[in-house]
Amino acid sequence: MNDKTDMERQATAAPAIELKGISKAFGPVQANKDISIRVMPGTIHGIIGENGAGKSTLMSILYGFYKADKGEIFISGEKTDIPDSQAAIAAGIGMVFQHFKLVENFTVLENIILGAEDGRLLKPSLAKARKSLLKLADDYGLKVDPDALIQDIGVGMQQRVEILKALYRQADILILDEPTGVLTPAEADQLFRILGRLRSEGKTIILITHKLREIMDITDTVSVMRRGEMTATVKTTETSPAELAELMVGRKVLLRVDKAPAQPRDVVLDIHGLRVVDEKGVERLRGIDLQVRAGEILGVAGVAGNGQSELLEVLGGYQTGTGSVQVKGQALDLTGKQSDGQSRRNHGIAHVPEDRQREGLIMDYHAWENTAFGYHKDPSYRSGILMNNAAIKADTVEKMERFDVRPPNPKLAAKNFSGGNQQKIVLAREIERNPDLLLIGQPTRGVDIGAIEFIHQQIVALRDQGKAILLVSVELEEILALSDRVAVMFDGQIMGVRDAADTDEKELGLMMAGITDADAKIGG
């Protein structure tokens, strides 16, 4: 119905994009069902939906990455069929994928001209690209080092490269799939400024995101997807986060975490002068001092790549370091035999890693195998010299039940769960151990709000059981929502620690940029 009123309103101009009755099935999975949508030129159109709702698929179809089983595509009024990405590019469409499509060991410049070279020889193409890159850079404030290797630059930069790729191909229609999932607030704000600029130039933008705030901030219209279907399309000004959340999950969702004030008790994690030098010889941690108490959540904020990952790794036992780390008074071995995940777990440390797909899970293992991952030596999982798979499966069923993992099928391979559910599997595994100390990185990256709500509740619940929690996240919002105290990391050092109660995004944002006012009160 919303759709219809929409069409009446905009009957005049030809929509920049119109999809009619798009359907797509992956084997048994119906990813898109008869989806129709129209986007007006010069507007930003948001698409929200749970993990696995079909957003990426739909956009991939528009970009010619997947081929639709049924349906038609109209670009600015004309029926266009898009068998492959080449056709999409020709039609002026550019897409920034959720999982970037960049060549890691190529330079920025090479990535940008890839497929859009003019002439058989590289030199001229590169020269030309370099020029227009500079131009684009100051047109849109998209500064990048054209000669840097992708693997050496941060995700924020990588995303810029993706955007530049699209612009370099003169896209008038830009699709972004969960662009802010990996960005810091600062980076996100800048991205949105750029998007605003692009819109003002008459470019059309489709934005997929799990963050309602972003939808409200920047989009003109928004569509909600659910289980492969388009459930609604509304004008942003005529809706509210709550309504969107409900449309998308199908029930009321709490958009904020409500938690009682913390009752911190004795120190569980005590870090002194912790240093880490990576294999390239770069000093990643430059003398960290931190305490985390039982019954509190210490949030570590910071722009990605300022040492948070290394901090988690060294505490998790798969990165060597120097200095002293004590857990409940016992010193951890940071270099020798005892510095591995196993012995950390024996110290009562549980760890939800930042990257669930590379570290937290074996994507090809069944859910039940992943439930034992890292705890596979646990006596309760053993019968004699063998593993007690029955016990593990039973345990998995319980955990999936309690963490509401969908589908609750222990025999499904991890890779076939959506990100949100993958994350729940990891959380269930680590939290249910009820550890003394929980290390948790990017708990809700790329996870839809339905799941976010649940995950946050679990973390708080654990705190209230009097456990110590070290939370690392690039989402300031999340940090502020969950943490009792916030430590800000910059360039391998702690810029300062604040009580969450008496600080705000602004102050933290500054500290994350390395700026701290002299009379900063040292909390903790």
């Binding site: 084997g27 990455f65 997947y66 990405s85 960049l102 001209i113 890839l114 020889l121």
Partner: protein
Amino acid sequence: MDYMTLIQLLDSTVRLATPLLLACLAGLFSERAGIFDIGLDGKMLAAAFFSAAIAALYGNVWLGLLAGIAASLALSLLHGLASITFRGNQLISGVAINFLAAGLTVLIAQDWFQQGGRTPSLIGGARFNPITLPFADAVEPVPFIGPLYAELISGHSILVYAAFAAVPLTWWLLYRTRFGLRLRAVGENPAAVDTAGVSVIGLRYAAVCICGVLCGIAGAYLSTALQAGFIKDMSAGRGYIALAALIFAKWRPWYALWATLLFGLFGALETRPDVIEALIGVKVQGQLLGALPYVMTVIILAGFVGKAIPPRAGGEPYVKER
């Protein structure tokens, strides 16, 4: 060890390195595009047979060369069909191709010539003869340079020069052309190439074909330049050595040259126990001598080369949808 001995050693090094180099570059193209290929040996063998056979039948080595290339190309396409189109296991396909070549060559040879998996000996225009570069004889007497030019540089078959020319060519193609950029990209992240609007399949087939052509030349060199005819299994595992050299070279053209020359040198030294004895001072027992090149390789590998990272998308078929 006197100067002439050195020249002779290097001369033999060049001859032995040439087939390795060609095969190694062949593998380089294929693997840089993300298609692993342990079928190099089989392709060489097939090419060796068909070039010799056709050359023998028509008395024209160039026809032979073409036939060899065609044969190797056919196997490459088979490999492509299996590993690109049907996303099969690239290792299995490679193994199968090696078996196929080993069997078919003898079978056909027997059927055509009844000489027990062997072609008649090639004579005259049916084989590649060494070509003497201009002034070779003139500068011969000049000390130092003379022999170097006349013995080492001059007096190889055209294919040797082709092989060495292929190195800079490969480098240029890979790092200076659009095709090269895309080829390297498709071996690292096919999705990036695909979303950039370039056909992954097309690129990979192109790479596999180049691989076929180079293997073809390598095989032809064995049977029509180094030898005057085909004998079963005459590739004698050189394809595997080329593979080793490729990893050794970390998938880079110039390194490939040095790696294959090194293997060539080992091979050459093996033919000169006297020189080895002179070099290391002790007489190496016969059988152990045979092991020397391989021991050396391992030592160098462990000692100096260290970790070699293959192209990231290597060995994985490109699957968008399951």
